[in-house]
Amino acid sequence: MELRILPAIPDYHRIDIYESHGGYEMLRKALSLKPEEVTEEVKKSNLRGRGGACFPTGLKWTFMPKQTEKPKYLCVNGDESEPGTFKDRQILEFNPHLLIEGTIIACYAMGITTAYLYVRGEYAHWIDLVQKAVDDAYAKGYLGQNILGSGFSSNLYIHRGAGAYICGEESALMNSIEGKRGYPRVKPPFPAQNGLWGCPTTINNVETICNVPLILRMGWEAYAKIGAPKHPGPILVGVSGHVNKPGVYEMPTGVLLTDIIDRYAGGMRKGKKIRAVIPGGSSTMIMRGEAIGGVTMDADGLKAAGSSVGTAGMIVMDEDTDMIKVISRIAHFYHHESCGQCTPCREGTGWMLKILERFEKCEARMEDIDLLLDIANNIEGNTICALGDAAAWPVQSMIKRFREEFEARATQSVGARQAVPV
């Protein structure tokens, strides 16, 4: 397959090289169309968001009001903090101009004059790289006033975060841009009505935006034929863990998970068996190694298998992996990253962590398994944002699919207690 998001062209991050391969031609094309024609093209392509929720991008754009007195905003989400996810970073480094071109086209389609690219604070090096690309785009007249003589003007500013997973949640991201604590907001109202400073706002993931120029180049019909029909297009899959060649691989959606591991990521390290796979970042439901056969990397394929595509950050674990340790570490993360607004999440993530640490130390009781599930079930769906769900799902799925590990640990714990001399 032709690599479109991360093409293997040396120095592609440079504006002259990008232009020499047809870069910014799609911006010209977009500016020659009516804004609603651009949106229609994206809508018909069936592009779905690459940030985790798989929401149809074109449909999201149509939520923006056409007639409004207020300024409208685009936030491009490069917070990328979900464990196992490291794809947007590749775009920032190797193809920043595709991101910039897509951003300007999205702005044009929605009548937006200010876009913010929100990048996690730790990516300081990558922010410098993108800032250089943005400066070059301004110098060439692709950004700023009267872009390419079209009469359309738009600005793109990079906004650096400072270390908070929750700021990848769209409403927390807006609060962060407003200079506040990154607390998610209650929805409704949705961002398209009431976003940044109360104005209509759209939030799209970095990789999602990069698909926009590709759609215009290929035409929506051709784009919609790439990969899985209901979730088409190229997708960046990050593979980490016990594989021979971890990394980010561009592929069509709908590739078998087993092919991703064997063909793209070089197979399992030391020829070991696959114990478990987390298919789309740490919040997606864990799958047993035996259960990944025939499952494809797309929204429907993973949903049918009882998980989700998330950010397509695949974490692969071999047969020697201690699953209790894995879930305990994941629980630690969500406890650390809970913003503290909602009681079920703030308290529940801490309780789950404490219980899981008991399992780790062989101090757990058999009834702790159901206690854990009870807590997870009471977090899920009872919080302002999806972090609560993201904390609950790994615990629920780990117990559902690896219950015997918990039971074995609880049994060992009973033994250990009895062995202590009285």
Partner: protein, 154 residues
């Protein structure tokens, strides 16, 4: 106090947003770069510059983990131990540095040269295990590589 250069930059950045409060994170970055950590004095100056109450600035400083709420060593070392790094021995890297520097995660060496922190996922899962020293990422680590990197820090 913030440098003249930073003050100028803050004024420029204010134009990008509807409200000057949006510059608070950038202003804190500038303060931290110049002073190593964010003191009360820094929060007060930034609050004045942006025309917002100091408690807003304090709220931001305490929410975001990258702001140092107390002085740190010359080199802040952050080692990721989240799942992808854990599967590739990130914890061993952390333990190695702990024993080398003779401190635990969360502590600073008595000579104030190193602060060691256990970090959450830093987006280097494909090049695990990894650590961040200041703004720089070091990836695909092993104990020998860590030693070379630490020896190279002045």
């Amino acid at each position: 106090m913030l440098s003249e250069e930073s003050l100028k930059r803050i004024e420029e950045l204010k134009k990008r947003y509807q409200h000057p409060q949006s510059v608070v994170i950038d202003a804190l970055w500038m303060w931290q770069k110049e002073h190593g950590w964010v003191s009360e004095e820094g929060m007060k100056q930034i609050a004045d510059l942006l025309g917002i109450p100091v408690h807003h600035v304090y709220g931001v400083v305490t929410f975001y983990t990258m702001f140092n709420k107390q002085p740190v060593g010359k080199h802040k070392i952050e080692v990721c131990t989240n799942v992808s790094c854990m599967l590739r021995d990130g914890e061993k890297i952390l333990k190695h540095i702990e024993s080398r520097l003779n401190i635990k995660a969360g502590q600073t060496t008595p000579d104030n040269r190193f602060t060691l922190v256990e970090a959450e996922c830093l987006g280097s899962c494909g090049t695990a295990p990894m650590m961040q020293v200041g703004d720089r990422y070091y990836e695909n680590l092993d104990a020998a590589k860590v030693d070379t990197i630490l020896n190279g820090l002045t």
